[in-house]
Point group: C2
Chain length 330, copies 2
Amino acid sequence: MYGNDLSPLLSQEVLDLLGGVMGGERRGLAKAISYVENSPAHSRPLIAHLYHHQALGKALVVGITGPPGGGKSTLTSFLVKHLRATGATVGVILVDPSSPFTGGAFLGDRVRMAHSNSDPGVFIRSMGTRGHLGGLSLATQDTVLLMDAYGVDFVFIETVGIGQSETDIVRTADITIVITVPGLGDEIQVNKAGIMEIGDIFVVNKADLDGAERVVTEINVMLDMAPRLGNAPNLRPPVLRTVANRDRGVAELWATLQERLQQFAEIGELALRRERRLWQSVLGSVQFQIEQQLSPVLAQQRSGILSRIAEGSSSPFEEAKHILQIIERK
Amino acid sequence: MYGNDLSPLLSQEVLDLLGGVMGGERRGLAKAISYVENSPAHSRPLIAHLYHHQALGKALVVGITGPPGGGKSTLTSFLVKHLRATGATVGVILVDPSSPFTGGAFLGDRVRMAHSNSDPGVFIRSMGTRGHLGGLSLATQDTVLLMDAYGVDFVFIETVGIGQSETDIVRTADITIVITVPGLGDEIQVNKAGIMEIGDIFVVNKADLDGAERVVTEINVMLDMAPRLGNAPNLRPPVLRTVANRDRGVAELWATLQERLQQFAEIGELALRRERRLWQSVLGSVQFQIEQQLSPVLAQQRSGILSRIAEGSSSPFEEAKHILQIIERK
């Protein structure tokens, strides 16, 4: 409908990037991800283009979350091993909101994905905050789209599961695995409500440690109390046991993951989640464009606004109204 | 400057609420807080009015944060005891983002502020999420303003220190106390960077437990590495020890808090933080008003947008542009 807006916005350079991604070129994908990370504003037309090419929606997106020290990275790397054994390809996004680093090599050090370092069917990318969490969330979403267009069968998003923002990142997935381990203590309780909501499959890793069965029981009890998925009242999330660093239970996890994705597709849950995700992208894009318009006006008006309020002749409410009037007049 | 916009927006009912708050009526304050919580949109003119009356900026706002089980509530209640002994008055806001409850009596149960239950110089209010964190943050800010206008000398904001959103809430304070305890394990490490940034005073509570000295040392090491405050390169945050439930070390904390606030005032740090807070209120108000305009348009356009993108004739980027055009035409 508005497709004709796009073409003049794409430089030859961006068209080349797009060609590289959609042609399945590994270096092209890496460059395109760097581009969306470094130029979140300028890269919007590139991302838009992916939608017009209907190059999206083929990859299955798996969120993997859990506390630090829970063995997420080890579990992910063995999961990748089992996935690769079927011939499927995967993009792995390692998200660490506590890290200022981003790019190909940094966080990867915490993993280096032992079994997949030089495998052409595995593409690994690390993402740190580089400033602000909002940017991280956008960059992660864009990277999912780029990996999808590049042609991987799966995208894994691995993230530390603590705060709201990480939860938001995981919400962009088709399915989410929540990993816990024994011995984390009561402070984890606080997040249980949120974690219970987002988990489609629960894994108690380090299941050979003391207390593992207690954790399994706790999760089961909470799942029995939790409401089921809207479309899938009978699809209770399974609770699996793994010892990731010895590859125990990971094959079962991989089988369960595929089976559950299949069920989600059959009952319409997958379509529902993708629609929700798409809508979130639209909202995110609206937000982003508003910010682009607002930033210069706010910067220019700041000192006037602050002094008017300080002297009691205005308030944030009235100044906000005024700002919106300025924007609308433009 | 835009002050004449306000009057027609205030009903007699709201004027009565305002009168109650600024007249120092306890019931009036309680009613006004409920009003801003329940009607975030309609209550904007009331909050704006507080700025015009220059009723704000008298209370000193203290953020108190730390992990669940860290003894925040006990420490807060003893801090209130020492504060009251000087004749000062205080409003306490107990923020629990994991709780859906809000109002006077709910979270208060976890505290009931043993020493201050029926003390007219102490006003306690609990806040849960009631839906979404954004709302919690706004309601907390508004409650600070209302308590300030009501006339308390101090406002304490006590919040569980885990995610970004709680950190945002604490950022509305003039000064922030970060509480830790021994024995929380490694998962706390993740948040250390963020916590180090916001803490002006560190407290190791339960200092009679094993491992307390190690925590004190760890915090000191991290503080030695951290950058100092812009205005106050010599104002290194102190690290205190308390055993809150036996009132040990709390008098020292209270003395340190007052002293540090005094120093912040002298070096201009207090003014800087208040300006930053005011600016955040302006940004929040802009955001809020934009959302009020957007919501109905988005709801109305949703299905059309989703189908255009699904059929490959549009993208979130273009749809966002279109949405902004609709808003601007209004």
